[in-house]
Subunit: 195 residues, 4 copies
Amino acid sequence: MLEAATAVFAEQGYDSATVEVIAARAETSVGSVYQFFPNKKALFEAVWAQYLDETRALFETVLAQSIARGIADWRTLLDESIDAFWDLDRTSKAFRAVWLNGQHSVEFLADGYALNQQIATRLSPLLRLLVPSLKVSQRKIVASVLVESMSSMLFFAVRCEAKIARKIVGECKLMLRRYLEVYVVDPGDFAADRA
Amino acid sequence: MLEAATAVFAEQGYDSATVEVIAARAETSVGSVYQFFPNKKALFEAVWAQYLDETRALFETVLAQSIARGIADWRTLLDESIDAFWDLDRTSKAFRAVWLNGQHSVEFLADGYALNQQIATRLSPLLRLLVPSLKVSQRKIVASVLVESMSSMLFFAVRCEAKIARKIVGECKLMLRRYLEVYVVDPGDFAADRA
Amino acid sequence: MLEAATAVFAEQGYDSATVEVIAARAETSVGSVYQFFPNKKALFEAVWAQYLDETRALFETVLAQSIARGIADWRTLLDESIDAFWDLDRTSKAFRAVWLNGQHSVEFLADGYALNQQIATRLSPLLRLLVPSLKVSQRKIVASVLVESMSSMLFFAVRCEAKIARKIVGECKLMLRRYLEVYVVDPGDFAADRA
Amino acid sequence: MLEAATAVFAEQGYDSATVEVIAARAETSVGSVYQFFPNKKALFEAVWAQYLDETRALFETVLAQSIARGIADWRTLLDESIDAFWDLDRTSKAFRAVWLNGQHSVEFLADGYALNQQIATRLSPLLRLLVPSLKVSQRKIVASVLVESMSSMLFFAVRCEAKIARKIVGECKLMLRRYLEVYVVDPGDFAADRA
DNA sequence: AATGAATGAGGCTTCATTCAT
DNA sequence: GATGAATGAAGCCTCATTCAT
């Protein structure tokens, strides 16, 4: 049922998706939907929570593998993270839909923001290992920039045809790597200082 | 009245915004709204069209100035473009709302996509001057990546407090400059080739 | 302005006709319409009253001519009456519209009824001259049948193409003459007695 | 629910009847009305279609009986037809309402017209049996005149009190019989020829 | 527990009427 | 007096939610 809801929310958007259509897609009745969820918003929040959990879990997995390999190999971590998110999208086709809704309904925007923030927060300690001289506040910003860029690039890629999408994912890797190198190679170069 | 519509669409999203509320914000009556726009969708489209026009105009201005200065100074062009878009946002506070709606309502997503694509298309010839060896298809992708990244970073920054936002804008400049340098310095390094 | 109202009411019906359209047709403004008529209903009633007056006047004219000629020639009176009503319709093209509305809006049905009743009442004394033995109550009914039949036949004819319409008018004359002959020739044959 | 709709349309007319009132009359809610009919017009059309069907069915029944009896007895057929339509009206009290609306709303006028035309068309072959010498085009007109006269007389009678109504029905029979006799007795006397 | 018809609040839209210019 | 933009009540319709079966 979550699956059906995810798909319908994805296709129609939160407001346009009707409970009846979701029930039909799930091959149940509206009544049954309301037996599990008190209202439409709760249904969406469940879909959204599921997406958050999956994404967090994915990130933890990638992170764990990478830490085992040593932080020096951060370029690989970056590439694998991007690939992982990209695969997630390709795998659970509906993910993008939820993402879309999460970011695109004003009501739930804060949540979408929250996910990226959570990941950024989780990323911060890694950045500290990589660039010890970076101040905490700066680390937060760099982490946010990485996460936001990646998520937007993938969201963009998802709307393109497969071949182009793959290239965009490649460019995303290149761009973020180039950006991170600034700090790894010359930690004193925090851009915002000069801004 | 467009102003009020822009604001309300911004705060509530297309579906949740009611014509009554928009009329109230504009300090008129529903009837008056319908004297200028045949229906709610048309009202939104007017708001959106205005935003598209402003954005295009802004971009053309920045471009014209930069071309006068010579393409060699592409770093300044990049910085000024980002500043210009950022200032646009800060100036017309409502812009972000429209952007939000344009990109985030499923129904209007295509239009939001279109604006970025338009700018990317406009950017392509400049890239050609800068990196003559880049193939057309690659140019398109690089241009898209630049535009999408910038727009998403600014959209992100807008949701942060002023001080952080300024830093994020700075990081955005740094990131895009670093990314572009790859091609300017070593045109053969198209990332997607290796992907 | 009455003219415009008549035309628009004719084409659209009472409910669908908007004051704005009527004003436009009259080449004035809504405000001006409301300077002469307190509301839409009053406007329609004026149109209707005008039609009633014209019709009554017409009938009086035909009647006066016929009486001058003598009641014995009732067949000519019948033919001329029908022709007169038919010409009225053809002349003021809008008449049918008002008629239509008068009969067809429930609210105003009573008035439409009233017109025919008025004419029937006016006809009664003539019938008395023609068929002295007919009881008052019967006279009323015969008069009503004549008037109603004629008005409905003409209303029907009006919707047909010109050539057919003319034939229908002819049939109407024939039918009513045949009907009246029953009473003129054999006054004891009142149909309802046997019903 | 059709019943309630029929009644309300009858009393108020198509435009003035509100869906809310119809729902109230049917002792349901607006929502329920829209579960069966996509919109108000469809609701009316259903009411109308039901009336058309009933009327057609009735006419076919009367016709079948009469044909079994032989065409020579056309006077009985005429009387029975009129009685049947009159009884239909008295039986389903609402019928007149639909009729009223069907004929009286400009939008649906064509349909009302159509029903009478259908019956007239159905009547034509009978006329042929009765008056073989009548030309096709003339037959059409005579049939139309019969049907239109009858329907208008009954519509008129329905608005009168019961006692008078009965008498009017009787007069209607008389009038149409007298009219038809012209052709049966002297088929060459087509009125329109002389018109 | 499952169903899906019934409910009615609330949104979009129209248009008779008013009133400032 | 003329105008026509402004007003807002009221109608149609949708859909989240409930509840009898």
